[in-house]
């Protein structure tokens, strides 16, 4: 027979409490995304229509920010030469967590039209984790906005875990970076 004794509601375990706080945090994080626009190449031209009256990023809560410490999204728009990749990795490691990477264009996917160049890398995903790709050369502004909405959906479904992957597989990523670049932190650039 079922007990008729009154019992208190089961206390939530610590993991469940953390998960609930994380869900609330996700609501805030996906509705107020700040971007650091690292305009590495030609795809950057698609951003002005996205920011201004034509497609208005601000109604989604997104906006540009000046420094990596303040930003949530690192927007990689275009091809990545070796020189730029060093600075991109340096900037990515300076961002506050949780952080997301959105890659515009075909060049971060497979090299794009520069796929056989000696100075350009082909797959960005080997060096830093990417959350959303927006294909095209270059993609339409509506595709870019679609990509942002996809990112917001991924945050809601807890699939935007690129930054956690970076921590867990840090050695693998570092090994790739050293193989291609030699060293990430350049010394004696200004002959100090």
């Amino acid at each position: 027979m079922k007990s008729t004794k009154f019992s208190l509601a089961t206390k939530l375990s610590k993991a469940e409490v953390d998960r609930k706080w994380w869900e609330i945090g996700d609501f805030f994080r996906r509705n107020s995304l700040w971007m650091l626009m690292y305009c590495t190449g030609c795809c950057a031209i698609e951003l002005p229509p996205a920011m201004t009256s034509a497609y208005d990023m601000e109604r989604l809560g997104m906006g540009p920010m000046a420094t990596p410490r303040q930003a949530d999204i690192l927007l990689v728009s275009g091809y990545l030469s070796l020189k730029t990749l060093r600075r991109l990795i340096y900037t990515y490691e300076q961002m506050s967590e949780p952080r997301y990477v959105v890659a515009l264009g075909s060049c971060p996917i497979n090299g794009g039209i520069y796929h056989d160049s000696h100075a350009v890398i082909n797959q960005l995903d080997q060096y830093i984790p990417v959350d959303v790709y927006v294909a095209g050369c270059m993609p339409n502004t509506e595709s870019v906005m679609n990509g942002f909405v996809d990112l917001m959906g991924q945050i809601k479904n807890k699939q935007a875990n690129g930054w956690k992957k970076y921590h867990e597989n840090f050695d693998w990523y570092k090994a790739n970076q050293i193989t291609s670049l030699g060293e990430v932190d350049v010394h004696d650039e200004f002959h100090e």
Binding site: F28, D56, G61, T67, R69, Q70, Q94, E97
Partner: protein, 302 residues
């Protein structure tokens, strides 16, 4: 002074934060509609601040954190003294005007200490520009306030509101029109609105003092900025627009002043820092002195 006063003060600070954040969000929508866009939700600023508070950022040492705590603490302390209407003041007659001007300086000193403690030269340059802007707008503003205090005979904000509300007296923006214009220009400098936005200057100095902040420190600084704007706009409402009899009148006047300042700032570019100093020490200072002379020595008050 009892616990009730302290709780009322904390309540006023919290109310000011909620009010200013909502009005800032509504203003973002107004500006967007001006630019033929949709604009964000009215509670967007809240989302921004809570998102920042939930991120994990870096710290450069104990002075970096301590400065932020001192800044937010100082501003909350200042907001605790602010009267909302002519009859509601958390601490009675102790809401002296000079307390507001100088406790705001404590908050700014805390933020300056923390920004310089991050070790980034952009932060020190931004703090230098902020201090120079403060030197520029405070002197004409304090000359006009000198006139107001001399005419009222008291420097308590509640007493100044009651003086303007007695019949036969006009609001000070009508009684001292030239002083009112100088006061509004000084208000725009205080709020850091264009063209006096020199200390943030995202394109020139990578957002100035905020360059190394992220996560909870930046969230606390945003809260500090919202409460600072609340204090400054309320000061203008109480000093020049006759304060308020009830809370609805206060909300209306507050909204009108802040939106008007925002609309003007939206169509302006940004000054260089020496242009800011030269601007404030030319016509606003001459106008403030002229207004003081005719009001105190000749008694020509409308």
């Amino acid at each position: 002074m009892t616990i009730v006063n302290v709780l009322l003060g904390v309540g006023v600070a919290f109310f000011g934060f909620v009010l200013q954040t909502s009005i800032a969000g509504i203003n973002r929508k107004v500006i967007a509609r001006l630019q033929k866009r949709q604009g964000p939700r009215w509670y967007q600023e809240f989302l921004d601040i809570f998102k920042l508070l939930s991120k994990r950022s870096v710290s450069h040492g104990w002075i970096f954190d301590f400065g932020v705590i001192m800044a937010l603490g100082g501003i909350i302390a200042t907001a605790m003294f602010m009267p909302l209407t002519s009859t509601f003041s958390p601490f009675g007659a102790s809401d002296n005007f000079f307390i507001f001007v100088y406790l705001l300086a404590v908050g700014m000193l805390g933020m300056a200490m923390s920004a310089s403690g991050s070790g980034n030269p952009w932060a020190s340059i931004g703090v230098m520009r902020a201090l120079t802007t403060m030197l520029a707008y405070e002197v004409p503003f304090l000359v006009v306030v000198l006139t107001i205090i001399k005419l009222t005979g008291s420097s308590s904000l509640s007493a100044i509101q009651l003086f303007q509300q007695t019949s036969g007296n006009n609001w000070f923006i009508i009684a001292l029109p030239i002083g009112g214009i100088v006061g509004f220009l000084a208000l725009m400098g205080m709020l850091g609105k264009k063209p006096f936005e020199t200390y943030i200057a995202p394109g020139e100095i990578a957002s100035g003092p905020m360059v190394e902040y992220g996560g909870k420190q930046l969230g606390m600084l945003f809260i500090m900025h919202e409460i600072t704007v609340f204090i400054e706009v309320s000061l203008f409402v109480h000093l020049f627009l006759g304060g308020a009899h009830n809370i609805l009148e206060f909300l209306l006047k507050y909204f009108v002043v802040y939106t008007f300042a925002n609309l003007i700032s939206n169509v302006n570019g940004r000054f260089k820092i020496d242009q800011v100093v030269k601007f404030y020490y030319k016509w606003p200072l001459i106008m403030a002195v002229f207004q003081a002379v005719i009001a105190i020595y000749f008694g020509w008050v409308i």
